[in-house]
């Protein structure tokens, strides 16, 4: 590969990583506060639909973005109501949110737009277009949020309290603070970040919503966060790794690879598209298997107060 190809690979790495970064940060905040979030996928998917639908209806970027943020926030509040207030099963809730979002987004899209579950493509005036180095505003926002969230979690009092909630909620209660309030707070930011991830898919990366467009990215982001040991910088690194593999894999499509040591007609094998598509999912499993040592989850993760 020459320099230009490396550069374009780098540009697409950041482009495909951005939604993962938003989601990983969202998962990081809720899990640091002790709430498992397997609903990232669903929150992102329904937000993406909200952005696509609101954009198509109103023709306003603000409305599209606002709708996505609102939907992400509302789903997170439902998350809090079920899991924080009523101590519901956090893992089951995540799957429930994702299933409902997958169904609801298509039901509404079919009823409102009648295009087989897609929303109409949005014009460029309703999208985040590339600013510098081929990246749009949301990419810079995602990258900028990493140090902000690091500072918030590790250098502010509220951040300390939030982390304490995930480690030892009883102690936080004993200190006279409300575990419920802290967890709702973490979930609120979590929802807004998922809203940004969903908006990114529709308003920056693509131009419309299509069914199941998140394609497992929510779970990948969660895996990236685990791989990044529940730390913003680690999570960013893992997201960029995923993004790089994804971007590189797209480039491998149709490329022939010569296998050394085989007879001539067999030595050139074209990599099947499906193998490339499966690569990020396999990578997720491999990373989760923790081939780089064990990480420690927040002690009170998944345990209601």
């Amino acid at each position: 590969m020459d320099d230009a190809q490396w550069l374009s690979l780098l540009v697409s790495t950041f482009r495909v990583s951005a939604p993962l970064v938003f989601c990983a940060l969202a998962g990081l905040l809720s899990e640091r506060a002790g709430v498992i979030d397997l609903g990232l996928e669903g929150k992102m998917l329904l937000s993406a639909f909200a952005a696509g639908a609101a954009g198509a209806f109103t023709g306003s970027l603000t409305a599209a973005l606002g709708a996505a943020l609102l939907v992400g926030f509302a789903l997170s509040m439902l998350h809090g109501f079920a899991c924080v207030t009523h101590r519901g099963d956090q893992v089951v809730l995540g799957i429930a949110l994702t299933m409902t979002a997958a169904g609801l987004s298509v039901v509404l899209a079919v009823a409102w737009f009648g295009q087989g579950g897609q929303t109409p493509p949005l014009p460029n005036t309703l999208r985040f277009l590339p600013l510098w180095f081929g990246q749009n505003f949301l990419v810079y926002l995602a990258l900028g949020l990493v140090p902000v969230i690091w500072f918030f979690l590790f250098r502010t009092t509220i951040g300390l309290r939030l982390r304490a909630t995930g480690e030892n909620p009883a102690m936080v209660e004993a200190a006279g603070l409300s575990v419920t309030l802290l967890r709702y707070g973490a979930l609120a930011i979590n929802g807004l970040l998922c809203g940004l991830a969903g908006s990114y898919l529709v308003l920056a990366q693509g131009a419309n919503f299509s069914p199941h467009m998140t394609a497992g990215r929510g779970y990948m982001a969660l895996a990236a966060m685990i791989f990044g040991k529940w730390h913003p910088v680690g999570a960013l690194g893992a997201c960029l790794l995923f993004g790089f593999l994804d971007a590189a894999a797209i480039r491998l499509q149709g490329v022939s690879v010569s296998l050394p040591g085989l007879a001539d007609p067999l030595s050139v094998v074209e990599i099947p598209v499906q193998a490339i598509q499966a690569l990020p999912y396999l990578m997720t499993v491999i990373l989760l298997a923790g081939f780089v040592g064990h990480a420690r989850a927040p002690a009170a993760l998944g345990i209601p107060k």
């Binding site: 397997l38 109501f81 079920a82 899991c83 009523h86 101590r87 519901g88 099963d89 956090q90 893992v91 089951v92 809730l93 995540g94 799957i95 429930a96 949110l97 994702t98 299933m99 409902t100 979002a101 997958a102 169904g103 609801l104 298509v106 039901v107 509404l108 079919v110 009823a111 409102w112 009648g114 579950g117 069914p211 394609a215 497992g216 779970y219 969660l222 895996a223 685990i226 099947p272 598209v273 499906q274 193998a275 598509q277 499966a278 999912y281 396999l282 997720t284 499993v285 989760l288 298997a289 923790g290 064990h294």
Partner: protein, 362 residues
């Protein structure tokens, strides 16, 4: 009383939210539900399709329930079913092709059943072992394996398994020896006239599987140990039970059960391997298991309910413009929400209402 009532209350809550969604998109809820019920249970053909879908959901529901009893959440039914289907198709296209006589079905079909179970178990084995060995997050690994399974089957279907000369992404048709006899054919032998539908003898395998799972969970030592692990891993270890061994085994059994979907859908109905034959049935299994309270009898009943929703939804999608089959997916999600995640919300509420009613009677 509460045991039977809770699922109904949760179902009613989910239906209420669905009605609201229908009202929002401008479809009259009452008419939709009437048409849905009529499509599913209004005729012999409707019933037959309902039972066909129910057969698939018994397998995926049991696959979720067996893992649940071990304290595990198996969301990989989708991928396990897909690889089960691949297994039974490979047998059908290799052995079945060579033994293409009518009698050979007695040999080929059992082999396909075993291959489907092995395929599903194999696909559950990797996440299971990673869970036991590395503590990998089972929900994430099984979901990732769903995507990998779909890519694998797609890759094989456009490559080595593709029917030559066909534009469709599917294999050639299975030989006659690899086709599960249809229910209408069987009933005809007894002089019963039954509409020709995909419903086939796999229904009996599903019932046998439900009974076997029931015996395993409640009447066998292994099942008892598994439930102990699910109830309290520490207590199990104290009692000399090895939790990880039981977790892996329950996931292998779950995978094998999910794999049997391939027999119903491919050997029984499609008679070829094609893309997307699972159609979300793995996820339906989660709702089925929750509504059926993880009990085999409950799962059979819940499967009939969901079979009806699928069949009714399919009919409606034809008849009612603007209605999407994904309404059923939404309903499933809401059912998992109310009966799984928010059980703590609705149960006290129900208890309060029952108390009020009870005190008025007394």
């Amino acid at each position: 009383m509460e045991l039977g009532l809770m699922p109904l209350v949760n179902l009613a809550l989910a239906l209420a939210v669905c009605s609201a969604v229908l009202a929002v998109v401008g479809l009259p809820p009452q008419q939709v539900f009437t048409m849905l019920l009529k499509g599913a249970f209004g005729s012999a053909a409707g019933w037959s399709y309902t039972l066909f879908y129910a057969t698939t959901f018994v397998f995926t529901g049991l696959a979720v329930a067996v893992a649940f009893h071990g304290g595990l959440f198996n969301v990989g039914g989708e991928g396990q079913a897909m690889i089960g289907g691949l297994g039974c198709a490979l047998i059908a296209l290799s052995v079945g092709e060579q033994l293409a006589t009518d009698l050979a079905a007695i040999v080929v079909l059992p082999m396909m059943v075993v291959a489907a179970m092995l395929g599903g178990a194999l696909w559950a084995a990797v996440p299971a072992v990673l869970l036991a060995w590395r503590g990998s997050h089972l929900v994430i690994t099984t979901i990732m394996f769903n995507f990998v399974a779909s890519s694998l089957v797609a890759g094989l279907l456009v490559g080595p398994l593709k029917a030559p000369g066909s534009m469709m992404v599917e294999t050639v048709a299975f030989p006659l020896s690899a086709r599960m006899p249809g229910m209408h054919q069987m009933l005809q032998r007894f002089g019963v006239d039954w509409p020709r539908t995909p419903l086939n003898l796999t229904l009996l395998i599903a019932l046998a599987a439900a009974i076997a799972v029931g015996l395993y969970l409640t009447r066998s030592r292994l099942g008892y140990e598994l439930r102990t692990v699910g109830f309290s891993s520490d207590a199990a270890r104290y009692a000399g039970i090895q939790p990880d061994r039981h977790r892996v085994m329950s996931l292998l059994i779950a995978g094998a059960l999910a794999g049997l979907v391939g027999i119903n859908e491919l050997a029984g109905a499609q008679h070829r391997l094609l893309l997307d034959f699972v159609l979300g049935a793995g996820f339906t299994g989660i709702a089925v298991s929750l509504i059926g309270r993880n009990h085999p009898l409950g799962i059979v009943l819940a499967s009939i309910l969901f079979g009806g929703l699928y069949q009714g939804g399919a009919e409606l999608a034809f008849e009612l413009p603007g209605f999407s089959r994904d309404m059923v997916t939404t309903l499933q999600g809401l059912i998992v929400l109310f009966s799984g995640a928010m059980a703590m919300v609705s149960a006290p509420l129900l208890g309060w209402i029952l108390n009020r009613v009870g005190s008025r009677d007394g």
